[in-house]
């Protein structure tokens, strides 16, 4: 009977068994899924922790509140750049059009880039048909004047320098529906490398990585008898160099820019090219060209076509076989004579001599800001560089983000085994993380063979988007020894101020690579410079006159680089004698001053260069901070230049904003530089719904349990503030409860399973 019962029950049991099997696999799957889900926030959290937080991305201040389709209800900005190149200098007029489309009185704040060698000397504010010209004042004074005018309801404009290549324009009291134009003008020398002349118009400020102020750096100097100062924040003005940045995926492009350039080189022109934008070129005559953007620059999605999200670069060459190698220009301003001299030493081809063995340390930045196309360009550049090494060279490779790895403990010979290892290492690099530049620079400059007489070169590939530039300069100055530092700026908007100053302090050069097509040609040019002897021991004497010359410390010149001298002369007479050594051959050239041509803006370029000298002297400790500040202030006020100690301020006499009307602040956003990956830079994006336009806080509109006690309307302070939405609050809930509950449930489930099993065995 038992057997019969068993047989009859078999189908039932079998069905139950299959059901049970399915149930078992199902629970196992649920268990695994729970594990994965639990692991995800862990991994995601860890990764988010390593992604850079430039400026203050977390609180959302870098993402401007806009409606879904773009920039409807706020201040709109249009930009026009008009450049005139006359011989060795160029003068640019940048016009920013602030159009207030809201119904409120607005203060607009716009943080924008300028070329780092530029000298800003004019500010004009155009309101309707009135033009107000700005005055140069000491920085604090200018700010006081501006704030006062703002409180009074007068229209005012303020131009301040945050870095030599970052400026802020603040425009107060733009009425509802009004448009205010702010024009600034600057002067810049034309750049030259080998046979190519170039100019650059930066369009965006790449978001900067600003290291957290944890470690105090102490400034103790021998001259101060043991007393020093401790600075705790490597970037004390971080919120002034972190303008809002729009994610290109979510926002319509902003800041349409028009550019027009009148190029009068002073010699017949050959090839004139714009590298990253489509332009229209007209030729009125052999040495003049007029260049305009084909259409107003708007940022593109993936970096093709024109873009207000990448620097504008124009290069030109001479029609003759060789570009003129010497240029001499003069100008008389306020009774003094100013001189600008360009001299390019001849390239000595030591073809019969084998290149000397070198020690080369490559440092590559793989931080989040390099994500997108920049890391591809950097890796290509580095692989090319590794291919150029000779077997008797020695090398090492360092990669860094906010962590650092050295491929080898010390420099190793460049044989095929080591090179293969290095190539694998470089190919596997990925862009993520912050940008701590000091440790890799220290590691690269650490020289285990300091008494050697081989050439030691550090090639540093980065976009330079950090806020603590001064710390890097200090590191290079104190540790450079016999090394030469060559900076390679990668991407569409590198920090050229950092690159140029670092190369100057490191006695090397700065190369910029802005697109994949430029990699090979620019790296080949750089290697030409690395492998050829430099022009050293330069000295300059004026035969017949006293001269205040800059740069005071004449740099070593690499192949194709010109010596650019600016001088304030006692009188325009006699000659300049320049002497140096190329490799081990002496070289000299004499220029008669009487043959100098008329130039424009030379006094300002001289003053600008003297200011740079003072800052470099402060970095290498030949001047104290106070002395440097005094020198800079005096020069800036005399020549009317905007510096970190002086600003331009323009105030309209008429009071336009009615008393009692509040003033809203609008921080105008920039586009993200082309080719950057927004998520790699800013990490997790806060999910913003369609945000309301800047409105006054109204207590009754919120569903609060208890109303917030009414507070008076306060005039909103500018610069660094956020529009009327209030402080953005961070995420303040952990997964702890959820995890504990699910965990407990799963364990209970497991217990039930076991219990059922036992019951079955007994049942």
């Amino acid at each position: 009977m038992m057997v019969g019962y068993g047989i009859a029950a078999w189908p039932f049991l079998a069905a139950k068994y299959r059901l049970y099997q399915r149930w078992r696999t199902l629970t196992a799957l649920i268990g695994l899924a729970a594990l994965l889900i639990a692991a995800l926030p862990f991994a995601g959290g860890a990764r988010a922790a390593t992604v850079a937080q430039p400026g203050d991305a977390r609180s959302g201040s870098l993402i401007l509140k806009t409606e879904g389709e773009g920039y409807v209800d706020a201040v709109r900005l249009g930009i026009d750049v008009d450049v005139t190149v006359s011989g060795p200098t160029l003068r640019a007029r940048v016009t920013q059009v602030f159009r207030n489309t809201t119904k409120d009185w607005v203060e607009g704040i716009y943080v924008y880039p300028l070329p780092d060698g530029g000298a800003v000397d004019t500010l004009k504010m155009v309101i309707g048909d009135r033009v107000v010209v700005g005055d140069i004042k000491e920085r604090q004074q200018a700010r006081v004047v501006y704030e006062q005018a703002k409180q009074n309801g007068q229209k005012a404009a303020l131009t301040e320098q945050e870095r030599p290549n970052i400026f802020t324009n603040s425009v107060a009291n733009i009425g509802p529906g009004e448009t205010v134009l702010v024009q600034i003008e600057y002067q810049e020398p034309v750049h030259r490398s080998v046979d190519q002349f170039s100019l650059r118009i930066p369009m965006v400020v790449g978001p900067r990585y600003n290291p957290a102020p944890v470690v105090q750096t102490v400034d103790l100097r021998a001259s101060d008898n043991g007393w020093g100062t401790a600075t705790s924040d490597p970037v004390p003005d971080r919120d002034r160099i972190s303008p809002p940045v729009l994610d290109p995926k979510d926002h319509a492009p902003v800041n349409p820019t028009t550019i027009s350039i009148r190029l009068q080189a002073g010699f017949p022109l050959g090839d004139v090219k714009s590298h990253f934008h489509n332009v229209k070129i007209d030729s009125p005559d052999r040495s003049t060209r007029v260049i305009t953007l084909a259409t107003p620059a708007q940022p593109s999605g993936e970096g093709q076509g024109e873009g207000a999200d990448r620097d504008f670069e124009l290069t030109w060459t001479a029609a003759a076989e060789k570009a003129p190698s010497v240029g001499l220009f003069r100008e008389q301003v306020a009774g003094s004579d100013y001189l600008l001299a360009y001299v390019t030493p001849p390239a000595v081809n030591d073809a019969e001599q084998k290149p000397l063995p070198r020690e080369v340390i490559f440092v590559i930045d793989n931080s989040g800001s390099m994500g997108g196309t920049s890391i591809v360009q950097a890796k290509a550049s580095l692989l090319y560089a590794l291919g150029r090494l000779q077997p008797n060279d020695r090398f090492n490779v360092i990669r860094f983000d906010h962590t650092m790895d050295m491929l080898f403990a010390d420099v190793v010979p460049a044989d095929s085994g080591h090179l293969a290892q290095a190539k694998d290492f470089v190919t596997a690099l990925q862009a993520q993380g912050g940008t701590e530049m000091i440790p890799p620079m220290r590691a690269a400059l650490t020289d285990h063979n300091a008494d050697g007489n081989t050439v030691r070169q550090v090639v540093f590939l980065t976009d330079g988007c950090i806020g603590n530039e001064q710390q890097l300069f200090d590191t290079i100055t104190s540790m450079r020894g016999r090394s030469r530092v060559f900076m390679v700026g990668i991407g569409s908007a590198p920090n050229t101020y950092l690159m140029t100053r670092a190369a100057e302090l490191g006695r090397g050069t700065f190369t910029h690579i802005g697109s994949a097509e430029q990699v090979e040609s620019r790296m080949r040019e750089l290697f030409g410079k690395l492998e050829s002897p430099a022009v050293t021991q330069l000295s300059v004497t004026f035969s017949d006159t006293k001269a205040d010359m800059t740069p005071v410390a004449l740099p070593d010149l690499y192949r194709g680089e010109p010596l650019v001298l600016a001088a304030k002369l006692g009188k325009l007479a006699g000659t300049i004698d320049i002497k140096g050594r190329i490799g081990d051959r002496p070289w000299s050239v004499t220029l008669p001053l009487a043959n100098a041509a008329e130039g424009k803006g030379l006094s300002k370029l001289w003053a600008r260069r003297k200011i740079t000298d003072a800052e470099v002297a402060q970095t290498i400790r030949t001047l104290t901070a106070d002395e440097a500040n005094k020198t800079i202030l005096a020069l800036a006020l005399e020549h009317q230049l905007v510096t970190r100690l002086t600003s331009l301020v323009a105030v309209d006499k008429t009071v336009t904003r009615p008393a009692g009307e509040p003033l809203k602040v609008s921080e105008l956003p920039l586009n993200l530089p082309a080719g950057w990956d927004f998520e790699k830079v800013f990490g997790e994006r806060p999910k913003l719904g369609p945000a309301a336009p800047a409105i006054e806080r109204r207590a009754e509109e919120r569903d609060g349990r208890v109303r917030i006690a009414a507070r008076g309307v306060s005039p909103v302070v500018s610069a660094g503030s956020q529009a009327g939405q209030g402080v953005v609050l961070p995420t303040t809930a952990t997964d702890a409860e959820w995890k504990m509950i699910v965990g407990a449930m799963l364990m209970a489930f497991a217990v039930v399973l076991l219990a059922c099993r036992r019951r079955r065995v007994f049942g």
Binding site: D56, A212, S714, A733
Partner: protein, 197 residues
């Protein structure tokens, strides 16, 4: 064997999750212990003291509500990493005792668990890292979206805002925040010079 293995998988997954949850709470509590010590040292020596060698933040203030006996050491910055260890001082808001509004944020299930018990009229003491203590009186609370907090960073008074996620008993993250607002009642004339760390 199959049921046993399924049970083991579930049990281990459950234990892992549970453990992670416990870990978060344990980390929060242990961090506060270390932070108390670091904060005391900061006050006595006047230097910034890191609570543990690899910390990337430091104790800035102690927030205490005497009536319910709650106390927490707040850290500089309000990144996710800082918030795991204690309330964070939201960047670019004023410091306690200064003109403006000092905003502190913390997790609703760890350090600001007590916030739901704070009533209007309660006194909140905030001790800064230079040793000065300021007393605030809670005078309002509201539920807001995280990006529309309505906290005006440029208010001319001396104010405090403590904020955490809302609702208190939810399991998942949400966009809503609970903000407890307080105004300073003492010292009467808070014009003492502020010494940065």
């Amino acid at each position: 064997m199959s049921r046993l293995s399924a049970a083991l998988v579930l049990a281990s997954a459950g234990a892992l999750l549970f453990g992670q949850g416990i870990y978060i709470h344990a980390k929060a509590m242990l961090a506060q212990v270390l932070l108390e010590r670091a904060f005391a040292e900061t006050i006595s020596t006047g230097r910034v003291v890191k609570p543990w060698p690899w910390a990337d933040t430091w104790p800035e203030a102690r927030i205490r509500v005497k009536r319910i006996g709650a106390s927490a050491i707040a850290l500089a910055g309000s990144s996710g990493q800082a918030l795991a260890f204690g309330p964070g001082h939201v960047e670019r808001t004023a410091d306690a005792g200064e003109r403006g509004v000092a905003v502190y944020a913390a997790h609703r299930d760890t350090h600001f668990r007590f916030l739901k018990d704070v009533a209007i009229g309660d006194e909140i003491d905030v001790t800064r890292h230079d040793g000065k203590t300021f007393r605030y009186r809670a005078d309002g609370s509201s539920i807001v979206r995280f990006d529309q907090s309505g906290i005006d960073p440029f208010t001319t008074g001396h104010e405090l805002a403590l904020t955490t996620c809302w609702p208190f008993d939810a399991i998942a993250h949400g966009p809503m925040r609970y903000v407890l607002h307080a105004t300073m009642i003492s010292p009467a004339n808070p014009m003492q010079p502020y010494s940065p760390p």
